[in-house]
Chain length 184, copies 4
């Protein structure tokens, strides 16, 4: 199956970028999977403005929408900002939903992860992020995984320090992958 | 009292811009109120990126944060995009929350309005928008007002066509204003 | 496939009971489907109390849990009460989640419908009702259907008056059924 | 000021009952406050059923509604069940909202606390519980406090073991009380 991975963050040193890289490594290890990891900073979009949408749909949104269309499953690791969805995550979802050749979101399988320096592991943000994706017709995988204390969670090479966290992540990804496969 | 008004939209012809203008007109009619209406397009911000935040906090965010600090009450009319908060609304909330001299949001009274061309009047978006504001310590007024079929709701001069809608808006704004006053 | 239907209401004349009966009739028309419609008043449960749970798990919860286990898809029509999930719906979800031989909810496909006399068709209640089901691992179908002005929506025999509403309901149920089938 | 306290739990040994008792002790210590702590098991209600509502409004709901009316501030400690509002909390809110002499909820100040044995301190449940209260017009205090690992948090006499948690609770309650006072 084909999987697209990205973090809901534009920051170079983003904890969610590290977390989604770990997720990518898990599914990439299965030779049957095609995996692509992208950084939203490479698909930089203005804040959604219908006047821009009406005059010139951004090339970056078109390209990213094509990747979503290509994928069978999409893994997003998104921070919690002020107890809710990250602006860049919402902005990306919204811009891509405006691609009408066709809208890439309906019926896509999405898995939500989240990393945060706090103790609650972005949990409010994760559940808040489900609503726009489901409104667009995505099958958001019911289980999510929040990684608390994420600023202390990674080795210098970006891998997860804690074996139990990595195992939990791998188990979740494998369950998600099995679910995606079962529907294809 | 001092009131700040803005629409959660960058579009020039935005229905929410028209709706919040009607709200402004109601509270402005009371000579005791100081009212300021701003357009977010005049305070254009990039999508939140902590790398920008760390190097150069945007001037537009600083200026808008000062206006929020100034206000006793803030009236936001925000569209629903994909069943949830508009990206520009979330992006504005998040950027302003990063102003630390100090964070302007805690203890601010906020009233949420929403206009949408659909039949449900942005109701999912309005309730989704409460969470980040409350997480920041805002007193979000419990009642909200969604305006359905908003593309047919305004006269050419931008005023609300429907007398009952205008009366409902005025009643809500006056209740909000009384609430704001009672706490000062 | 096997489908279980119930309304999130105890009232005999419940609008949601009528709405879910229409849903039942649609899927029942396919000879390949086994359909069962139950009324929660026939499985009356006390408000969840762990002290009762610890001493004597209610027979009605055990029986209803068995029906959920049996079903491939579950269709719930639930009212909105005070902008959120109906108490009886939440109480039923919670009691059944305490059956541990095993918990019947994980991996169940659920479709949410809602009828309300108001103009918004229970939409806040429907989205609020997703969270506990997804937390339990249900695959809640992303699309929901709210029926506004439901007190005027039914003929004396309980069928939907409005042909467009019935077609929308049938289309949604068939899409749900196809989805359930594709995963089996 | 007058404060009403209850836990959203019917269980005798409830962690939330212990937590709300600590909250009661804090505000009770101020001689100017009148505080009343009730247990919902003493106001036992059936699951909401409009047929009961139409024939005989429960005495327990009438009595509890009177206490809500009496109070200037209401402190509820409510568990998270399946990532969302506890059934007994929702059932109590809904029944009391049906008292029409008058509905006791509008304009009431409510503070939400939550205790849970898990690591996230009922945070999803707390935020999920805001929606019905705000829909009813309550001023739900924006800050909430979740107590994680609550099964290890209390001494035999029910007091909080951890001094920092007690201080955080006291600080929150005093801020809430000051807020309630400022509006009276």
């Amino acid at each position: 199956m084909k999987y697209l991975f990205f973090a809901g963050s534009l920051r170079k040193g983003s904890l969610n970028r590290k977390f989604v890289q770990n997720a990518y490594d898990v599914l990439k290890a299965d030779k049957d999977n095609e995996c692509e990891l992208v950084h939203l900073i490479d698909y930089l979009l203005p804040v959604y403005n219908q006047d821009i949408d009406d005059t010139e749909f951004p090339k970056a949104a078109k390209e990213l929408a094509a990747k979503v269309k290509w994928a069978d499953g999409i893994v997003i690791s998104t921070p919690e900002n002020n107890g809710s969805i990250a602006a860049v995550t919402k902005n990306t979802i919204d811009w891509l939903s405006r691609e009408r050749a066709p809208n890439p979101w309906p019926k896509k399988n999405v898995l939500l992860l989240g990393a945060s320096p706090g103790g609650l592991g972005a949990v409010l943000g994760l559940w808040h992020s489900k609503q726009p994706l489901e409104k667009l017709g995505c099958y958001v995988y019911p289980e999510v995984m929040g990684l608390p204390k994420a600023h202390e969670a990674f080795n210098d090479d970006g891998s997860l320090k804690d074996k139990a966290s990595l195992e939990r992540l791998a188990k979740l990804l494998n369950a998600f992958a099995e679910h995606v496969k079962s529907k294809s």
